[in-house]
């Protein structure tokens, strides 16, 4: 049966950052035949909290926020994902429903690999499992750090830590400052560190006055990284 050609994983710009980086051309071709690639517009939802998982999502380009809605209806961002990251893996392997919702923050290209195929591919190619474990470990480390910060740090410190974390993942060094290549609303930033958007607005103004950050339009720049690190009370 002649099946249409798909975008080959071998040519994916994010291949080296993803979980399939060590696979042979032959295996990558097989994955390419079995995957589905789509481009989502900003604000479209990839998967929904409480729905059953159908497969694994690999981000080829773009950015995604993963949010959890509490019983009070309040939404908090638990994680951000970028090119090379995977989504939906925890529910897939724990055989539980999605515990969060994934929404695009900008135009995003995603490859979907169905559940049976990815489980079979892992069995046949242990490097995929190792790469997934590595990603899970990093996520767990980030979750532990975030959890500790919530209890041990005040909002100012948590905001400084958030900005440094964003710089680590999305920062681009330009003329002695770091441009954050991600656009988040004050509400989204507030939901990431467990505070109100008004508090974020106030502290962002303070950070600007103190020369720690600057802003052009919606783009945030970190202008004094060492001072921000000191304020966040962390070692980078």
């Amino acid at each position: 049966m002649a099946i249409a050609k798909t975008h080959n994983c071998e040519n994916c710009a994010s291949k080296d950052k993803g979980i399939f980086c060590e696979l042979s051309s032959l295996v990558l071709q097989d994955i390419s035949q079995n995957k589905v690639m789509n481009t989502y517009k900003k604000g479209q939802i990839i998967f929904y909290q409480d729905n059953p998982p159908l497969g694994l999502y690999c981000l080829s380009s773009g950015k995604i926020k993963v949010t959890k809605t509490g019983s009070d209806g309040k939404e908090s961002i638990v994680r951000l994902a970028k090119a090379g990251d995977i989504l939906g893996h925890r529910s897939l392997f724990s055989q539980s429903h999605y515990t969060a919702t994934a929404t695009t923050l900008e135009e995003t290209t995603i490859c979907f690999i169905d559940k049976k195929y990815i489980l079979r591919a892992i069995e046949q190619n242990p490097s995929i499992a190792l790469n997934i474990i590595q990603k899970l470990s990093k996520e767990m480390g980030a979750a532990e750090t975030k959890s500790a910060s919530m209890f041990q740090k005040n909002v100012r410190e948590r905001l400084a830590e958030l900005l440094l974390g964003l710089a680590d993942s999305y920062g681009i060094h330009e003329n002695n400052k770091i441009r954050l290549d991600i656009k988040l609303t004050r509400e989204e930033m507030a939901s990431m560190i467990g505070t109100a958007s008004e508090t974020i607005i106030r502290f962002m103004s303070e950070f600007k006055e103190e020369g720690l950050i600057s802003q052009e339009g919606k783009t945030i720049y970190i202008t004094n990284e060492p001072a921000l690190i000191e304020l966040a009370n962390i070692n980078y």
């Binding site: 249409a4 050609k5 195929y117």
Partner: protein, 124 residues
Amino acid sequence: MKQEIKILTPEETYQFSKHFSMQKFEQKFDFIYENQIPNVAIVIVSGLVQLISKKKVKAEIRPDTLLGAYNLLYNKEVRYGWRVIEGTELLILEKSDLLSYLEQQNSFLVQLFGIKFSQSLQKS
């Protein structure tokens, strides 16, 4: 559009249920958006799927309907988005499974797809 949606007999739906797992969706949500390739194909067992275009409901699709198998196998975008209504039960047809069954010449699927997709297969 004709290739995207196939009306099945209850017997055909039953045959699909022997090969593919069913999932119940408890909330209303957009399964795929218009002009996307479906991640999986679906057979509606109970409930309702709305076809969406420019945020408007264009049609309502009822049980014993196969959606998106052609699009999934041929990487063709669907014309309308699929909005699943709460309580809907769907059979989930994964691409790797469909490909594998067709390669193995599964009699039911070969017969069904042979009949239903014969023209499109020849064109490709």
